[in-house]
Subunit: 131 residues, 4 copies
């Protein structure tokens, strides 16, 4: 299995004046999805940071298809779309009750503590890429 | 002048474990830039909502060029890149001390309270588009 | 059982420059705890709002005992400390790996849509109060 | 002058489903008020961290008097209520158009990078305490 799904209950804090989830919070769910995807592969992102690796975001895109509401359960799916020497591209699909509400992707660069790009560590390199 | 700039002081709340600003918070600054851009044109977004117009986000992209730190002053520039019958595309450029730290754009659809797209109201239609 | 516990994984977004969770985010966990406590009692807060009841916060206190870090699992316990005609007081205890990291309480007033206090609805009135 | 005021425009991101500002965001404004208070006294909190001092929160209380809405300008006043060997107590008053909307206080402990309490540095010690 190359795609991983995690379910996230929408918090009141994530909603806004319009009665739907504020657009920046989709990116927080992407983060939760990445973390749980790595955990499902036996990798703990916190451990990577402890070893001196950081994932700096380079780009982000999101297409918002349908509003999401308080207390909805969002299914967040993620997968690795591309792997280069020092960067990773994640794909995302968010859905509520089987209906797609958003899609997106983000590119992250592996760096050391001082922000210099480094080669992706072996334990990440061996992850499946969904092409 | 078709581009509007607003200065935003980075809050401690906006930083994360990596010692830089969390990636979703750039979208909050985009929101502040849009609001102040409209205000500079004599339009108050709150008034638009009071009149029954809502700006639903349809898509977002952001390129992160350089990290931003606590207490930095972010200059957020925005402009209208495109105007269609019921949608607007905003462009963004964020910089700190004259150095570009991020660029992005977002598309928003004008809707009524129930989420149905409507024609952009006249006061918005007359805004300058930066082509 | 009068106390309800829910487990919350700390998000990267919730951390700050100091490498620990930002202090305002404890209040978000209190919210999650309240929602899940009510759900465990068969009450869905979203349904209460649909019926025209709102829970406006009146006061909040929190004692921070120990910092919480990214990826920790926070056990959030909550209970009703006091119930008056139109207000409820919740107590909270947060812990990580069995160690208390914070305690707090909050008072909320039941109001109608326009903000006027109303008598607590019967389904809430029948909840156990932990004295 | 022992009390410092800073004006903060309410962001859309800070609102919630109820059409008012989410309760945790008052604590973000308290943070902005503390930072600007120190700056008005010639102290930059970022510099304190660079020198190895950290302000860990120990307790927080807030009384919510009236809801705050999107685009309101919140006047945030803060002052030092108490200074002990290694801790500070700040008081807060938030108002909109001259009307008090919230009051609060918070206690912070000065620590070193590893979290051990230290004596408040001299530049802080010389700040006025409002008694």
């Amino acid at each position: 299995m190359k795609t991983f799904a995690t379910d996230i209950r929408v918090r009141y804090q994530e909603t806004d004046n319009m009665g739907v989830v504020y657009y920046a919070n989709y990116l927080v769910w992407f983060e939760v999805a990445r973390t749980e995807f790595l955990r499902s592969m036996g990798l703990v992102y916190r451990d990577l940071e402890d070893k001196g690796y950081y994932l700096m975001v380079a780009s982000l895109s999101c297409r918002y298809r349908s509003p999401v509401r308080y207390d909805d359960i969002v299914r967040a799916e993620t997968w690795i779309e591309e792997m280069k020497n020092s960067s990773l591209k994640f794909g995302y699909k968010l859905s509520v009750n089987g209906k797609s509400v958003a899609t997106g992707d983000s590119v992250h660069v592996f760096t050391n503590k001082s922000g210099k790009p480094v080669r992706i560590p072996e334990e990440i390199r061996s992850l499946p890429v969904d092409i």
